[in-house]
């Protein structure tokens, strides 16, 4: 059983406060969707929890099973069981994905397995063309292929909690279904806990959310069940963006 607890999290970029007190908790096997208008701080939330440089935490806490994640380096957060699928995965020229995953597994004492075989297995499950596996990390991949590559890595690394930042963008309907199914299977088979940032309900038709949260102006302003996503799809965020400063 794992539990990610984000409590009163405040963070700034370049002196501008983006997150203004975020509270969220994700337990093993749960799927929490985070929706909200552009600029509301969704991606910032993903970056701050993973520890991307350039973001200043100015208040609050983030813990994974009681361990203070904010005190750890990004790789240590990953070693603790956190994974972050990026909205815009970085291209790393000349570096083979198998080497990256092997290094990551070695760092947590899980090296020595057949990473290449596990990559092929994961690739097949999400319809990721095997010939992409030998390419340098994310180089010359389309947006959708990059998202599948992130999902593949999630499958190989087997984190306890995953943050998915618009994993659905760039994917066609078939690919989206496969990716969502793969993540859903992880939640059921291994008890993966998921924080899924998305703009669209369609991700949640396969990856079933236990809770939907609306992030606006750096705060969770509303939480509800899956039906909240349907309402947002119909009504938009008009009611949330007008909040006074």
């Amino acid at each position: 059983m794992a539990e990610l607890v984000i409590s009163g999290l405040r963070a700034a970029v370049g002196g501008k406060e983006i997150l203004r007190g975020v509270d969220l908790a994700v337990r093993s096997g749960e799927v929490h969707a985070v929706m909200g208008p552009n600029g509301s701080g969704k991606s910032t939330l993903a970056h701050v929890v993973m520890g991307r440089p350039g973001y200043d935490v100015i208040g609050g806490s983030v813990t994974l099973d009681g361990v203070d994640l904010l005190a750890l380096e990004p790789w240590e957060r990953a070693a603790a069981g956190l994974f972050s699928a990026m909205q815009y995965p970085t291209e790393v020229p000349g570096v083979a994905l198998a080497d990256v995953l092997e290094e990551a597994l070695v760092a947590v004492g899980r090296g020595g397995g057949d990473v290449a075989e596990r990559m092929r297995f994961e690739a097949e499950r999400i319809g990721f063309d095997e010939r992409f596996l030998s390419r340098p990390v994310n180089v010359d991949l389309s947006g959708g292929e990059k998202k599948r590559n992130e999902t593949l890595q999630l499958g190989v690394l087997q984190p306890r909690i995953a943050i998915l930042d618009e994993i659905d963008s760039g994917l066609d309907i078939d690919a989206l279904r496969k990716v969502a199914r793969r993540v859903e299977a992880e939640t059921e088979e291994r008890g993966l806990g998921v924080l899924a940032i998305t703009h669209y309900r369609r991700l949640l038709s396969v990856l079933r959310a236990d809770a939907v949260h609306v992030l606006a102006r750096g705060r969770v302003v509303m939480s509800g069940g899956p039906e909240l996503a349907d309402r947002l799809e119909a009504s938009g965020y008009a009611g949330f963006t007008d909040e006074g400063e």
Binding site: R52, W75, F83, P89, P93, D99, A104, P136
Partner: protein
């Protein structure tokens, strides 16, 4: 001079060169091509040329045998120890095609090929080289012949306080094709090496040359590589410089014939107090010529590197494409890298670009790998290896890349150990 030996025509050349050397000043850092260099530290009196018989080497030294084994199939092998040819072997099937590989004094008296690309020596070091170069090597491929495996030239230096002057001439005949691997290594001795390579790609030929440099940490290298690419020929040179204390290479390629194309690639990686110093010239003389340069370097510890390069487009060189890219990764605070690209264009009908960068490991790339769970030092190691891969994967002698990759990895491992030591 006589004590160096050799045929009369070569001795006469040497005598003339030593006279000119005596009246030519050594370069200073005030000259642009020597700016940033360590030339003021050079004490020529600390080194001496070797008389014949000074080295007892017979056959290929063990250290070079190991290299040969990794290279696999080859058309010919020449081993040069302390500036003298000690071993020549040519695959009989290759020799039957008329391919000549071996001592230039035996194959090309009175030396028509010697200096045919480099021209008469004008600088002090060129004259010094001409004065003391004892035993040049010639690789000559007849017109129309495709050499199916690399020609390997191995240079080894093990004489302390020696000055050696290796000279390689490659002459690729019309419509011929050849790959030459030139390996430069040494014992850990305080030697000075002044190598010169003259590379000629005659019309419609395909000449690919790879220079691997893993000299010992005390060696000084002042090298020159001159190529001439004739009509419709394609030429490529790739240099991997990992060794030496101060290792300099001037690389000049002349696109001399219409429709010729040249590719210039380099990887260099210095550690501790090493310095790598590259000066390039892409000289477009003829129209419709193309050149593409990609030099990638890294420095760690207190190492330094210099890249300065010039693209020159001559008056008659219309319809030229010329590109120059130099990228450097600075892996420590104490390391230093300089990058100075230049253009000199005398014809407006050209497409030219140059780009240069010096900086730390890309932060986004490092973060991406760290977010997967890769510790920072391991992430940087992967990124640096990947950074060099763009060049290494294109080496015309793929088998030569593996030991060079290992050497790069070993340098990164030493960096990690030092980082751990510093943290303890």
């Amino acid at each position: 001079m006589a004590r160096i030996g050799g045929p009369a025509w070569l001795r006469a050349r040497r005598a003339a060169a030593i006279e000119r050397f005596a009246v030519t000043p050594l370069p200073t850092v005030e000259q642009e091509v020597w700016r940033y260099s360590r030339i003021p530290e050079l004490d020529l009196a600390a080194y001496a040329p070797l008389p014949p018989g000074a080295s007892s080497a017979v056959g290929i030294p063990e250290q070079l045998r190991v290299v040969l084994e990794t290279l696999g199939a080859r058309a010919a092998v020449v081993a040069v120890v302390n500036g003298r040819v000690v071993h020549v072997e040519v695959d009989p099937a290759i020799a039957a095609l008329g391919v000549e590989v071996g001592r230039l004094v035996e194959l090309d008296a009175p030396g028509a090929t010697l200096g045919s690309i480099s021209g008469a020596p004008t600088t002090a070091f060129a004259q010094l080289h001409a004065a003391f170069s004892a035993d040049p090597v010639l690789v000559r491929v007849p017109a129309g012949v495709v050499v199916p495996a690399p020609v390997v030239v191995l240079h080894w230096t093990d004489a302390p306080s020696s000055a050696t002057f290796p000279h390689l001439v490659v002459d690729a005949g019309e419509d011929s094709e050849v790959v030459v691997y030139d390996h430069n290594a040494s014992e850990d001795v305080d030697a000075l090496v002044l190598p010169v390579a003259e590379l000629r790609a005659r019309p419609a030929s395909r000449l690919r040359y790879v220079h691997g440099q893993v000299l010992g940490p005390q060696v000084w290298q002042l090298g020159r590589q001159l190529s001439r690419v004739e009509q419709d020929a394609s030429f490529s040179t790739a240099m991997v410089a990992l060794g030496g204390d101060y290792a300099r290479l001037e690389v000049e390629s002349t696109l001399a014939g219409r429709g010729s194309a040249g590719e210039m690639l380099a990887v260099y990686f210095g550690e501790e107090r090493q310095m790598h110093d590259f000066r390039s010239l892409q000289d477009h003389v003829a129209p419709r010529t193309t050149s593409n340069l990609l030099f990638k370097g890294a420095v760690q510890g207190r190492a330094r590197s210099v890249y300065t390069g010039l693209i020159h487009i001559g008056k008659h060189a219309a319809g030229v494409d010329a590109f120059q890219t130099n990228r450097n990764i600075k892996l420590s605070e104490g390391a230093w890298a300089e990058s100075v690209p230049n253009l000199e264009i005398e014809n407006n009908d050209v497409r030219c670009s140059h780009a240069s960068a010096v900086g730390p490991v890309d932060e986004d790339q490092r973060y991406y790998l760290e977010s997967r769970g890769v510790p920072p030092a391991r992430a940087e190691r992967l990124i640096v290896l990947g950074f060099f891969e763009e060049v290494l994967e294109r080496l015309a002698v793929p088998a030569a890349a593996a030991p060079l990759r290992s050497e790069i990895a070993a340098k990164l491992d030493r960096r990690d150990r030092q980082a751990v030591g510093a943290g303890a």
